[in-house]
Symmetry: C2
């Protein structure tokens, strides 16, 4: 995967991270580590839940896409993570459902010395119908050079 | 751990989740799964980073405390997670540093039928000096009965 640097950044630029889906086993394995609610880890209990079937833990999509798509591209530019906002769990993510992911640069604020910049990223996760299932904004401090 | 229910909720009520710390190996193992940046997974690279030593991945504190403290108490009341906001990574969490955790109920909005409620929780993570190192607000839909 091609590494990208600050020179590749621009407000409004969108990076397409392709399509992701999780099997029931992957949903259960993730949730057991970090979010062991019945409707994430127990097929039978999930059938009786509000969602009527197993759904992925809220953070699963972001954590997976961030690790496999964002970090390989941008890791060498990161000084620190600053903030996460507006992480909205809009629709459930069921097993084997396609989730289309992207990250768009919403804002870039360089420091006065122009050595680093605070960058606001918007993650969007959509279903096959193009409807948002989840969004998240994160503010990351990136090296400029 | 005692399970708690909606009857135990009140605006302003604070739940103390005690003290947590992570070893270098725990920091590395967590970050390899979800946040494999050099200053989370590579001791030598971390020495040359802005932080001058290995630091825990941003989500590590929350994910650990949520799984081990919040979920065991509140899991049977959860309908769905709705939103995460103002997750601020204020100070770095180094290896073997004490992190004092709590969750406070900021708001409770029941539905008109009084069958469920949208509850806003404030997580606070502080160091031994009582300074905030991280905060997070989450909105959870809880069953009322």
């Amino acid at each position: 995967m091609e590494k990208l640097f600050f020179k590749d950044f621009a407000i409004g630029k969108k990076f397409d991270f392709g399509v992701t889906s999780f099997t029931e086993d992957e949903i259960i394995a993730f949730a057991k580590l970090f979010d062991p609610l019945d409707f994430h880890i127990d097929r039978e209990a999930a059938k009786k839940s509000y969602f009527r079937a197993l759904i992925a833990s809220g953070p699963h999509c972001f954590n997976f896409v961030h690790r496999t798509q964002w970090i390989p591209r941008f890791k060498d530019t990161v000084i620190a993570g600053m903030e996460v906002n507006h992480w909205k769990f809009i629709k459930p993510v069921y097993a084997n459902m396609n989730v289309h992911s992207s990250a768009t640069i919403l804002d870039i604020k360089p420091n006065p010395e122009n050595t680093f910049a605070s960058v606001t990223w918007l993650y969007e996760f959509k279903n096959d119908a193009g409807e948002l299932v989840q969004t998240l904004e994160m503010v990351i401090l990136h090296k400029i050079s």
